[in-house]
Subunit: 215 residues, 2 copies
């Protein structure tokens, strides 16, 4: 398999974690999202993914898959062990909802192209853009803490004793939150899950700073 | 089942379509997203979903499910007929990627709370907000047309002869595009799928204008 990735992309980071957790080897293809206006906008990458977004996974039988959560569901269906979702439908739905609350309602608002639009098209100052970034994290993470509190699980991961799709989405989002100095003290269950993840070699190997294309 | 819904919410609209396609009856609970500052922000709804977003599905065994795509995956797992995803993992991944390209990369950027932030916090004029809205649709839909062109399917739906999760996400997004007068002429395969959907009673019954809470 070949993964088109960028070290700092949260979406690519999610797929790297899933691949590592499942022990699936892959060839990385590096797509630099800011150099030369962004390699994802060039003709080579656009021919692969018209949406001009990483990650893209090329499978061994030639399929070209995009969207991190679709790729991870594909990995789950084709390489089911270890599982990244629970067995019962209700818990699966709760794990997916947690993941989607990050992947739909936090991350896209803070994506590179959105920050660029705020700056270039709306002429916003960096301080206003930083406040925007922190706003959506500040709105998005506390409900996830509340959901875990209500579920009352023993942890240490979001939904039990093993990492799931929820943790895979949480860790990159918390890395972003730290980059922008967002306050995290009121999120003990999220931090507990993150700490448990960071202790695992799979999460360590997938981290941005461990990637060959890290700046 | 009880569905907490708002007639104009694209995410609730997706779940309404899925329920109708699968022939699952439900009790609607209406959450008015703008009246009184937004009923989704009140204590009653927040106790149900700390993220303060519709839809929420309360299942017959008391589970509270949020996030439209997580709810639809749960419906697919618990009520598999008719299927909303293909059988083979690669096509499932392509359907999910199409759905996520809308649910992550177009819709959240044009959500009510984002438009409110642009207006209230960034002091943007309505014309600038409208341009923002059209920008993300203009960036997001053509790649989906390209993906369908490349797949070369016979249609009429996005991925074959029956509607799937892709169509369920497409139809509400195109309704939004029309509300903001986005040009759609260059998207013939998307329009073909939409027309096929709109001819189905399930899509008609789920449409915003058919809801009891429509203004």
């Amino acid at each position: 398999m070949k993964l088109h990735t960028y070290f700092r992309s949260s979406a690519a980071y999610r797929v790297r974690i899933a691949l590592q957790l499942k022990g699936i080897g892959y060839d990385p293809a590096f797509v630099h999202l800011t150099r030369g206006g962004g390699e994802q906008h060039g003709p080579v990458f656009r021919a692969l993914n018209p949406s001009e977004l990483v990650p893209v996974l090329e499978t061994d039988d030639g399929a070209v898959l995009s969207q991190s959560l679709a790729i991870i569901e594909w990995l789950e269906e084709t390489h089911p062990s270890p599982p990244l979702l629970a067995q019962d439908p209700t818990t699966r739905a709760q794990i997916r909802a947690f993941a989607l609350a990050i992947a739909c309602d936090i991350h896209p608002l803070n994506n590179l192209r959105v920050l660029q639009y705020l700056k270039r098209n709306l002429g916003q100052e960096q301080a206003t853009i930083d406040a925007w970034y922190r706003h959506w994290i500040g709105v998005g993470l506390p409900p996830l803490e509340a959901i875990l509190q209500r579920a009352g699980g023993a942890g240490p991961f979001c939904f039990g004793a093993e990492p799931s799709l929820a943790d895979i989405c949480l860790v990159p989002q918390l890395a972003n939150a730290r980059r922008y100095a967002c306050p995290l003290d009121a999120l003990p269950l999220l931090l507990r899950a993150e700490a448990a993840c960071r202790a695992l070699p799979a999460f360590q190997a997938a981290a941005p700073e461990a990637q060959p294309d890290a700046a």
